[in-house]
């Protein structure tokens, strides 16, 4: 993917990360936490132009939940309100063992996509989300078994290298779909030169999704649009609309990035187009909830 993809007008996939698992309503009361709130947010984002929703599960008090049953409630709420959306479950889980992190992959039907954290990430002062290669392989194998498209989350350039390592170990279905993440801490330092280096370093044929945390969300989404990539926005990654002004909703952030795409002349993908772009070996007319269909690429 490159500037040529922008010039050729290839549709950009917009993902909304609706809730996350780190902060909650204590950071922004608009963050959806219950299945009903997440389902409603997904429908609003669908109306605004989203084709993929990235989902975490929470308990009633906003704390993290990993149980299949809770993910099932949430994914059912989303599919009921926006049946053509591509559902992407998180498998991230700082401090949680592998068996717990497998649970989001076991819903019926399986999610269409799932995140795969490609390496370590520091949290707070004394904690690291380890994401060892053994963990990556185990989660990948379960996704492969269930026909789930992996969304490789690359926190920094070392994880770009890990992607090549994974390609040595596993036969990833084409295309590699990777999210490049920019921000503080362990993340790639959010500077344009690092963005350009990252996209040039990706494996041949890979599609990239652009994620900038906090104030970097909009600038990096804009760069992603210009350089032929896809974009992710949402309250998981950024609770503000402007400096000092909390975002009113996930949809508000989506509407803004869709307006940028339209201004730049970059089409925004429908869910059907997004399915065709991420899983070209599968039919673009796959019905919603068909993530359990085995796809070979």
């Amino acid at each position: 993917m490159s500037y040529e993809d922008f010039l050729e007008g290839r549709p950009a996939i917009v993902t909304a990360a609706l809730t996350g698992g780190v902060h909650g309503k204590e950071a922004n009361p608009a963050i959806p936490e219950t299945p009903e709130e997440i389902g409603a947010a997904a429908a609003a984002c669908r109306e605004a132009g989203v084709s993929v929703v990235h989902l975490h599960a929470r308990r009633e008090n906003g704390e993290r939940a990993f149980e299949t049953e809770r993910f099932q409630e949430i994914t059912d709420a989303v599919r009921e309100r926006a049946p053509d959306l591509i559902v992407q479950h998180s498998t991230g889980g700082t401090g949680a063992p592998l068996e717990v992190r497998r649970q989001p992959l076991l819903t019926d039907p399986a999610p269409d996509m799932a995140s795969l954290d490609m390496g370590p990430l520091n949290r707070y002062d004394h904690l690291t989300s380890e994401n060892t290669r053994a963990t990556v392989d185990a989660l990948y194998d379960l996704m492969d078994e269930r026909g789930i498209k992996p969304e490789l989350e690359l926190f920094n350039s070392g994880h770009v290298t890990e992607t090549y390592e994974l390609l040595e170990r596993r036969d990833l279905a084409d295309p590699v779909y990777a999210t490049l993440i920019f921000g503080g801490g362990t993340l790639t330092r959010p500077r344009p030169r690092n963005f350009l280096t990252s996209i040039e370093d990706l494996p041949e044929g890979a599609q990239f999704n652009t994620l900038g945390f906090a104030r970097h969300q909009l600038p990096f989404a804009t760069m992603g649009l210009l350089f032929g990539g896809h974009v992710r926005v949402g309250l998981e990654d950024n609770v503000y609309y402007e400096r000092g002004e909390l975002a009113e909703s996930n949809a508000q952030l989506v509407e803004r990035v869709v307006a940028v795409a339209e201004t730049l002349g970059r089409p925004v993908a429908t869910p059907k187009q997004a399915r065709a772009r991420t899983r070209p070996g599968a039919s673009a007319a796959l019905p919603a909830g068909s993530g359990h269909v085995r796809v070979t690429g």
């Binding site: 698992g21 780190v22 902060h23 909650g24 309503k25 204590e26 950071a27 929470r58 009633e60 008090n61 906003g62 704390e63 993290r64 889980g93 700082t94 401090g95 949680a96 063992p97 717990v100 949290r123 707070y124 002062d125 004394h126 904690l127």
Partner: protein, 59 residues
């Protein structure tokens, strides 16, 4: 064993919630949901090791 500084409250820190949420009495604020897993020693987490707020409060 959960952190001795953990409380569940629906009000505090100038905020109000429908459901009681994790509140740190050492930091005097509601904590992030992910940090609440540390407070509760869930999964592989241990507040005595993983939480800088607890460690600072105990020093």
């Amino acid at each position: 064993m959960t952190c001795p500084y953990l409380a569940y409250r629906s009000e505090g820190d100038g905020r109000e919630f429908d459901v009681e949420r994790a509140y740190c009495t050492a930091a005097e604020r509601f904590v992030q949901p992910m940090r609440a897993d540390i407070c509760n020693d869930r999964y592989d987490l241990d507040h005595e090791v993983d939480c800088e707020i607890y460690r600072a409060a105990e020093q």
